[in-house]
């Protein structure tokens, strides 16, 4: 086996894994607080990609700079979805919570189709093709930036949840909803913020991904699936687990191309899912739930 190639793929896997991790952290946060799985997660990420695409084409602002705008827009989208839909279905049986969110995903997907059409669009960004070499391996500058920003965004989210007054309320509501209501926390509003934050992370991941792959309306399913696999890998509701799970999936998918054609990527991620369900169904870092 070619060692240099393997190293190259390892680096690429880690870099992409950071973005997987970021979007999965959002999915995991939403599950941890509300106990619902956001089946529109990947579609939100696609909308994030289109928003930064739009900003790039219309204003010429680089996706790395428009990231706060994409994240902010998807935060609002998540906040609105939570307040209008998800807060009403929290007490429903789990099977019934699936449909409204799958429907949300379909709506978003078709909105993207309506606004931007079915074509793949790949914008050329300032750093699109820049690279540098590290030993025998070549590193894409845009992948490295995307990875660094993904990690920075994740750390910022961790700190926000750990230290800020709102973050503590989010953790309290996730821990014990009844207790949170009784101390006077406005749990519905906290839920809105938590869903908004989870959505914002996937919106940010979308902006980071834009320079790396062409965007089209139907990418959402794959992204939802990827985030879902990562969350299960790391342990449902465990944010650190989601980040590590993202890195593991990124590296596994990337290294697997040594043996399998790249089009079988999904086989690898689902294979990993099956393995983890068999040997450690609570996920690598899961304990509770």
């Amino acid at each position: 086996m070619n060692l240099a190639l393997a190293l190259q793929l390892l680096i690429q896997g880690i870099l992409l894994g950071g973005i997987y991790g970021l979007t999965a952290v959002g999915l995991s946060l939403i599950f941890g607080v509300m106990g619902v799985i956001n089946f529109a997660h990947g579609q939100m990420m696609v909308i994030g990609m289109y928003i930064s695409y739009w900003i790039l084409v219309l204003v010429g602002l680089d996706p790395y700079l428009s990231l706060p705008l994409a994240a902010g827009a998807i935060f609002i989208l998540g906040y609105v979805i939570q307040s209008t839909v998800v807060n009403r279905i929290l007490d429903f049986p789990e099977a019934m919570q699936v449909l409204p969110l799958v429907a949300m995903g379909l709506i978003l997907e078709n909105l993207a189709l309506l606004f931007w059409g079915p074509d793949h669009r790949s914008p050329s960004t300032a750093l699109g093709l820049a690279t540098f070499t590290l030993g025998t391996a070549t590193v894409d500058v845009s992948r490295l930036i995307a990875f660094s920003l993904a990690i920075a965004f994740t750390v910022a989210l961790f700190l926000f949840l750990k230290k800020s007054a709102i973050g503590k309320r989010i953790r309290a509501a996730a821990d014990n909803r009844l207790g949170a209501q009784l101390v006077g926390i406005k749990v519905n509003r906290i839920n809105n913020i938590a869903f908004g934050l989870g959505a914002a992370t996937t919106g940010a991941a979308g902006a980071l991904l834009l320079p790396l792959m062409p965007v089209s309306p139907h990418l959402g399913h794959d992204f939802t699936t990827t985030a879902f696999v990562v969350v299960i890998l790391g342990g449902m509701g465990n944010l650190l687990g989601a980040l590590v799970g993202g890195l593991i999936l990124g590296v596994t998918e990337s290294l697997a191309t040594l043996l399998l054609p790249a089009t079988l990527k999904q086989v690898v991620s689902f294979g990993l899912l099956v393995v983890i369900m068999l040997i450690r169904p609570q996920g690598l870092f899961g304990g509770r739930r």
């Binding site: 503590k168 953790r171 014990n176 207790g179 949170a180 009784l182 101390v183 406005k186």
Partner: protein
């Protein structure tokens, strides 16, 4: 200060309370007793806004609070320390206490209130950085009461504070509850530990099948033949 009138509460189609009326006066300690499933917790849930009565009204300090949200009711000064403690297990003791103060005035006086809580429960101060989920049952009860005090309540409602505690700890908890009432806080206490509850309260209500079966000054209830037989095993 609290006046509940003719309250009917339902869980779906199931009626849990039938025309419950009760009052708590300024600085008064009132106990609500009754065996399992009689509607004691439901009464508190309705007062704190977790459930809304289908009929009847709840007034507090002259205000109609029947339809207010739990958050608004806490802000007005009613604190409900629920059955089963309901602390935040993955938050530290300190964070749990901080979460008790949600509104400007309680937040402003947070440090001072916390000192008071440590005065009552020195054990909590030793465990500030410990996750609440790792506390013993008794310590969790202390934390739940402490957290309830952080909102600076004028009326505190305690749902079975002595449940599952060792006899020694029951004594301690009731001593603290007595101290809290002496600071001027009105209390409504639900208890299966009828003797203790009536000993520290001025008046008592007996709930049976979702309705008030008996009420009166605690001393009278303690000597009431029905209460003695049904609840004190005498």
């Amino acid at each position: 200060m609290l006046e509940v009138k003719g309250m009917d509460v339902y869980y779906g189609d199931l009626q849990a309370l039938r025309g419950v009326s009760l009052t708590v006066g300024e600085g008064e300690v009132v106990s609500v007793i009754g065996s399992n499933g009689m509607g004691k917790s439901t009464t508190l849930k309705a007062i704190s806004g977790l459930l809304h009565p289908r009929r009847g009204s709840i007034h507090y300090l002259g205000r109609d609070i029947t339809r207010l949200s739990p958050s608004a009711i806490v802000e007005l000064g009613i604190s409900h320390v629920p059955e089963g403690r309901q602390v935040f297990p993955s938050l530290t003791v300190l964070e749990n206490l901080q979460m008790g103060a949600q509104f400007p005035e309680p937040i402003r006086r947070g440090a001072q209130t916390m000192e008071q809580v440590f005065d009552y429960f020195p054990r909590l101060k030793e465990r500030l950085e410990q996750k609440a989920g790792t506390l013993s049952g008794g310590e969790q009860q202390m934390l739940a009461i402490g957290r309830g005090l952080m909102s600076l309540p004028k009326l505190m409602m305690l749902d079975e504070p002595s449940l599952g505690l060792s006899p020694l700890l029951v004594e301690t908890i009731f001593e603290i509850i007595h101290k809290i009432s002496q600071q001027g806080t009105s209390l409504q206490i639900i208890e299966q530990n009828v003797h203790h509850a009536l000993c520290i309260s001025h008046r008592g209500y007996v709930l049976e099948d979702g309705a008030v079966a008996l009420l009166g000054p605690s001393q009278e209830l303690l000597s009431d033949p029905h209460v003695c037989k049904a609840y004190l095993g005498l």
